[in-house]
């Protein structure tokens, strides 16, 4: 009897074990629904969701690339067009030869500044939250930015222009954090396509946590000196959550490497004849 029971148990167990895989084989695999978004939390290590290269922005702002198409021309003022005449970018519809570049972030490794740090080489990005701030750690150049979330206002008259400006932010709902930035240094280019900005530039970033693993970033540019109306540089740019123990590789600009590269490739020295972002 005991042997019979044992056999039955074994058979039942075997049946269960065999049944599970075959059920899985017959039924189409269902993707697990993403977990719900945590509230007031955009922390984590994020990477462009569509592809690792989605944030490169070689032609400029992803949602307004400098591709020559009319619909992708920002609403320039005459002052902006004038300022752009001195810009010689390495990519896009107005690109020049390597020896003629004067993009200060490329030929000199000048700080990219804001908003370009969001619009060129946006890669693995870690967001930290402290009691008073949101801190963003960018892979490109290993730079950090702080967005004050302690209720302070943007300075009316920023103490000094900063490469990365001065940022404050707040939660507009449980899943959306909005940052405002002003006080940026007008020497920086707005993007890789060579769009300009003035010291009156105002940037709005909207970080919207869609679900546990997806964040969308929207960047809006407002600069009445340079653009007749505000425009969207990044529109719901999707970023996916990486494991918290992800080792983000270094990605840094090195002037000496750049010089050496140009020398070996015979591209000449673009720094010999101009000072990049300092417009004469």
């Amino acid at each position: 009897m005991r042997k019979g029971c044992t056999a039955i148990v074994i058979a039942v167990v075997a049946g269960l074990l065999l049944a599970s895989p075959s059920r899985a084989q017959n039924a189409p695999a269902k993707a697990a629904a993403p977990a719900a978004a945590p509230r007031h939390d955009i922390s984590g290590i994020w990477t462009p969701a569509r592809s690792p290269s989605d944030g490169i922005g070689a032609l400029g702002a992803r949602d307004m690339p400098e591709d020559g198409k009319p619909e992708h021309q920002p609403p320039y003022t005459p002052l902006a067009r004038d300022k752009m005449k001195s810009y010689r970018p390495g990519n896009g519809a107005r690109q020049v030869l390597p020896a003629d570049l004067n993009d200060p972030a490329i030929i000199y490794c000048d700080p990219q500044g804001m908003p370009r740090q969001d619009l060129y080489e946006l890669r693995d990005t870690q967001i930290l939250q402290t009691a008073l701030s949101v801190v963003i750690l960018y892979q490109w150049s290993s730079v950090w930015r702080v967005i004050w979330a302690d209720g302070r206002e943007l300075p009316k008259d920023p103490p000094e222009p900063r490469w990365f400006g001065y940022s404050v932010g707040k939660w507009v709902d449980d899943y959306t954090f909005v940052a405002q930035t002003s006080g940026t240094d007008p020497r920086t280019w707005l993007d890789k396509g060579g769009r300009p900005h003035s010291e009156d530039l105002h940037i709005e970033e909207t970080f919207h946590r869609v679900n546990h693993d997806l964040l969308e970033l929207t960047v809006t540019v407002d600069d009445p000196q340079m653009y007749t109306h505000s425009w969207v540089a990044l529109n719901k740019f999707p970023m996916k959550l990486l494991p918290p123990n992800t080792d983000v590789r270094e990605m840094m600009c090195s002037v000496s490497e750049f010089m050496d590269f140009n020398k070996r490739m015979g591209f000449g020295n673009p720094t010999a004849t101009n000072t990049g972002g300092i417009v004469k």
Binding site: L16, S20, A32, A35, P38, D41, S43, G44, P104, Y108, C109, D110, P111, Q126, I127, L128, Q129, T130, A131, L132, V135, L137, S142, V143, W144, R145, V146, W148, D150, R152, E160, R162, W163, F164, R187, H212, D213, L241, P243, P244, N245, D247, V248, R249, E250, M252, S254, V255, S256, T271, T275, G276, G277, I278
Partner: protein
């Protein structure tokens, strides 16, 4: 069975994706208990000028009296470097300091030149250091991983750390790029350099930083670059000013002022 697996998976996902909410125990004013296992906060050298270190590592300045224990190879490397400060300094047009042309300073120089207001943020598996100079951040992994045995060279190396006791955090770094100078006086290092930092929280408002250099190819024995450099706690809402190297500014300055009008002198 499948429901249990789903629950287990969800629990794992949740555990693995805990938010990086930094410890804010040190926010607020002076006084209060010394927090355990907590270096978080905004710190500054107790004497603000103490971290500049123009003549090299604060506890081994290039002043003619303090000489690191070079090996023969180390001395040879040192002689190739032409710094703008210290006993072997040269004219600005002659120097070949890559960081003065705005290459990344790298590590450990980030602690040994222009160490200014420094914010430390702690997450469950990282201690993150945010530097003023260059707006550079460094990640120190505290999840128990070991240093890589054969690391790819990085300007800022690869760092792991752990608590030696409740108030002392020790960081080990390797894998640094040998192109960087160790300090502003042109001391060299190899790719085999190992750096130990010891962060000791003395009391709520004071921390001391020790840093030891160990690089057998270049130095015959380890030596102390920083010896209990005191750092004081700043208010949590301190606005850290920007301090960034701009090669275009440097080029413009040289054109206006340098005798040869070049970004850098002879290589």
């Amino acid at each position: 069975m499948s429901e249990r697996s789903t629950l287990l998976a969800l629990a794992t996902i949740t555990a693995c994706a805990l938010p990086f909410v930094a410890g804010a125990q040190s926010a607020g004013g002076a006084g209060g208990a010394l927090p355990k296992r907590d270096l978080s906060g905004v710190w500054q050298p107790a004497n603000p000028l103490d971290g500049i270190q123009p003549n090299g590592a604060r506890n081994m300045p290039a002043d003619g009296k303090h000489e690191p224990p070079y090996t023969a190879f180390g001395l040879e490397l040192f002689k190739r470097n032409r710094p703008s400060n210290g006993t072997t300094e040269v004219n600005p047009a002659e120097e070949n300091d890559p960081a003065h042309a705005c290459d990344p300073q790298g590590f450990p120089r980030e602690n040994l030149f222009e160490l200014r207001t420094t914010q430390i943020v702690q997450s469950p598996i990282q201690t993150i250091i945010l530097y003023t100079y260059g707006k550079i951040f460094r990640i120190v992994w505290t999840d128990g991983r070991e240093l890589p045995k054969d690391p790819d060279p990085r300007w800022f190396g690869y760092s792991v750390g752990k608590w030696r006791d409740d108030y002392t955090f020790v960081v080990e770094t390797n894998g640094t790029d040998a192109r960087t100078w160790l300090d502003n006086a042109g001391r060299p290092h190899s790719e085999d350099m190992h750096v130990e930092e010891v962060y000791h929280r003395v009391n709520r408002d004071r921390m001391e930083l020790n840093m030891t250099i160990d690089d057998p190819k270049v130095y015959s024995k380890p030596w102390l670059a920083l010896d209990k450099l005191p750092m004081k706690l700043m208010p949590a809402n301190t606005d850290v000013p920007e301090m960034m190297c701009s090669p275009s500014e440097l080029a413009e300055y040289n054109r206006r002022h340098a005798s040869k009008g070049e970004i850098r002198g002879k290589q």
